[in-house]
Symmetry: C2
Subunit: 525 residues, 2 copies
């Protein structure tokens, strides 16, 4: 195992994250200069975090100087897991330092430290809460420990949204550009036609693909920001919500999430960009080349869009004859238009694993909630910023199960399973079904652990189960005590640790974390 | 497809079932002759059922005369599915006819037709309820529609228990003797060393193996009956509970199930026989030959016993410091002895998928209930009368998942997976994991259907989920409204149909039912 190389890359990551925090600090500084006194503590916290991150990053970079430039399977897996673990530790710093500095600052900001819940300390006074928020951001989950977002300074809100954007970018680059080229993970699942010639070896191809992905991601970011601004959001909110949309994260700058704007135009825009963020980014490569037919004949694209439409139809149907309670508290009278509006938004938000809300879906019918929870597990497309099991895996598993029924009465026929024009080889069949079974097992283990870690009788199994599902699949909101209008702050610290692990397992598709617990992985056999 | 041969075998099945009912009628007749006037209607119902069954059976036998004597995959699968469907239809007749005759009989028995619940009609007045009870019996589930068992005449109670015994015998013969020889289903999973020479072809081997299994089953039946009688049960109760134990069914002649006897000796005896009934019957072949070492080195035997011990330890631990409410209503003061007594009994009863109860485990802690529900899915051994996923499948799936994690960082190493000395080939790996995923999917579909079929808000998801789990895995009791002291009678008719399907799917390991819905199966392609 080439530990030094991993350390070097982690150092680089800390430097990059620190520079990202510095960018946020710049915004915060401009706000302060314009007279927003409340930003001062936020600016202090951000700059202090930058300093800590840069010092640590440069130290790691220094100690690993002259290391071997070899990146193998093991190194890549370890690096991926450590990136999110270490990244969250640094990303949590601004929250924590802000909470601490607020109590000691001469511009005492302490009224912000009392949550609206009833005089308890601000959740950010606890580092584990900050870590949860940071992990939730970087894994693009969007589960928050805050019951009141509004008093947070804009610097922290921007950083919170930016973690989504960075995490989403990291995941797309990882699953589309890096891992397939290394032959790791669901290689065939995520393989994108390489933009460069293949004879140049792995590194140039990764760079080439990654560069293209960044360009697409930047392009979408600019487009959504400008449209949201044009539709009436201020620049700050437009940027924050764009970051959260494209990362399929779900953090908002408002307690009522997107419901706060009560604007069909804004909701429609966000629906479109959520759908785009939840599609395989390889699709955009085809689109750029003008290959519309290749995109439309892609079975994952069809099933992804088909499930969004089907889910929207079912959920909207369950809503048309009842009033809908918005997250802002506004009650929408029963109408087909409102049913479609809120049904489509929520289905798209959940299946793309974003987690924005316009209505309190916890009050919806059992059927609607079943569809939403089911879509949490299906999730978005492979190679997108979204989480969940992924549409293509569900499709393969479904075909494998059908073939298995046929195997019983035609045992001697060798069946090939095709997805589009690609034949799914036996190894991929097995690993796909095993993956889904593994996710279900982790979901159940998570739910049971949460039940056992919280005081007996305090939470219902529905709360524990949907908290587990919403973190493992990187959604954000669940049902009941973690519903659309609730938050995760009230969980005990051990439960938060469990959910941090679930978020990470879901985000890195389990294996990158699990291998860390296999002794043979470390011994390098 | 050789339809005529299937019809002929179904005719034979109806004749055999009719003769079984006749045997029960004999007991009922003797009781009547001894002065139990209440048995008269039961005797009428039983004899009428015998007549109907014999007439229909002989008709089927007649119309299929001179059919081709060919039994292929297709025919075997269709026969298996139809056997349980048709068998339950005939087995339900005595219940239904008894209820109808009771209202018209000169010896009007109508007070029995009023359930103790509050003046509603007896459940057996509805044929779907009778079919549910019969299917629950033949699939060795043990879920009952009756909230008050006691007023039922002994003839019906005996028939009810006998359906468990017949269903259990049928399943063992099917999975150990018939299907592996036909190469159907999890062939390698259930393969038993054939007792006869293999050169004689399939039929003689099946006969030989089946004969041995019958002898073992009969031997265990006589042994348990005699021991229960010696421990104080009357002959009737001893026979009924023996039938229910060996079929891993769970119907009792008492409302309080085994808790009614409040006898450690009886409970211990039943624990031993439940464990025996839940073990692979192939094991007894080795035991008869004196091959103790072969039995002890069998990984399924070890894991099966290991899980029973581990489950018992955990559940007993959760119980030691609290009073335990027995199914009889008696409250046992907190003590280590009572905790072990009830913990072991319930764990063994649930994992072997029997479903007898001595205590109301619905009142136990979340951890205890989680262990019990988890063991519902693990289930008993392959080739036993028990249901569930089966211990060996769980073991294989666990090893497959471990190997899959290792595959990620050692992608080029071909790994063999062994269970004991047997190498699990890739096809079996896939079909095992697919099977488990299929069971989980059916469980969820069942739970959601029950929620949707019952009036909104009437039942909790825990009730629906455990009703689905307890029928699919052929257990009997679940939690909350289908808990140890509750029953299934209050479900709507559509829900009962769903649960009949779940019981059948679980019992026949899904495939035999699913293929019936594949058009190609019927076209014979």
């Amino acid at each position: 195992m080439n530990h030094l190389y991993v350390i070097r890359q982690l150092g680089l990551l800390m430097i990059v994250l620190s520079l990202s925090i510095l960018a946020v600090a710049t915004w915060s500084g401009v706000d302060y200069a314009r007279g927003d006194v409340g930003e001062w503590v936020s600016l202090e916290a951000l700059l202090l975090s930058v300093a800590v991150g840069l010092i640590l990053g440069l130290m790691l970079w220094r100690v690993s100087k002259g290391c071997d430039d070899y990146l193998g399977h093991r190194e890549a897996l370890l690096l991926v897991a450590m990136s999110w673990l270490v990244g969250a530790a640094l990303s949590a710093l601004p929250y924590w330092l802000w909470a601490i500095l607020s109590t000691t600052s001469p511009l005492n900001d302490s009224e912000h430290l009392l949550s609206s819940g009833g005089g308890t300390l601000h959740p950010f006074m606890s580092y584990i809460d900050c870590y949860f928020e940071a992990m939730s951001g970087l894994t693009t989950t969007g589960a928050t420990v805050l019951d009141d977002i509004h008093p947070l300074p804009r610097g922290l809100l921007l950083w919170r949204s930016l973690t989504h954007w960075l995490g989403g970018l990291g995941i797309v680059v990882l699953f589309v550009a890096v891992l397939p080229n290394l032959g790791v993970g669901g290689k065939k699942l995520f393989q994108v036609e390489a933009p460069g010639p293949t004879s140049q070896g792995v590194r140039p191809r990764i760079r080439e693909t990654a560069r293209l992905l960044w360009m697409i991601y930047f392009g979408l970011t600019i487009a959504e920001t400008v449209i949201l601004r044009a539709l009436g959001m201020d620049w700050f909110d437009a940027v924050c919500h764009t970051f959260a949309t494209l990362g399929t994260g779900g953090f908002s700058t408002r307690n009522a999430s997107i419901g706060a704007y009560d604007s069909v135009a804004i909701e429609s825009t966000i629906i479109v960009f959520m759908v785009l963020a939840g599609a395989n980014f390889g699709v955009y490569y085809h689109l750029i080349r003008g290959r519309l037919r290749a995109v439309w004949s892609d079975p994952e694209v069809r099933l992804y869009l088909g499930l969004l439409v089907l889910g929207s139809l079912i959920v909207s149907y369950t809503l048309y004859d009842q009033p809908i309670v918005g997250t802002s508290g506004r009650i929408y009278a029963p109408s087909v238009a409102e049913a479609i509006r809120h049904g489509v938004f929520q289905v798209v938000s959940i299946q793309t694993t974003t987690g924005f809300c316009t209505a309190d879906f916890d009050q919806w019918s059992f059927l609607a909630k079943t569809v939403l929870v089911g879509l949490m597990f299906v999730g978005a497309s492979a190679g997108s910023t979204g989480g969940g099991i992924k549409v293509i895996r569900c499709l393969i598993a479904f075909k494998v199960m059908l073939a298995d029924v046929e195997r019983v009465f035609r045992p001697n026929v060798v069946r090939t399973i095709k997805v589009g024009r690609t034949t799914i080889d036996p190894e991929l069949r097995l690993s796909t079904v095993v993956y889904i079974l593994g996710i279900l097992a982790l979901f159940l283990i998570g739910a049971v652990l949460l039940m056992l870690l919280e005081p007996a009788g305090q939470i219902s199994f529905s709360t524990a189960a949907t908290a587990s599902a919403a973190t493992l699949n990187n959604i954000g909101p669940g049902l009941e005590l973690v519903g659309a209008t609730e938050h995760y702050g009230w969980f005990s610290a051990p439960s938060k640790v469990v959910m941090c692990v679930l978020m990470l397992l879901g985000r890195l598709e389990v294996y990158a974390i699990f291998v860390l617990f296999v002794p043979r992985f470390w011994r390098g056999e």
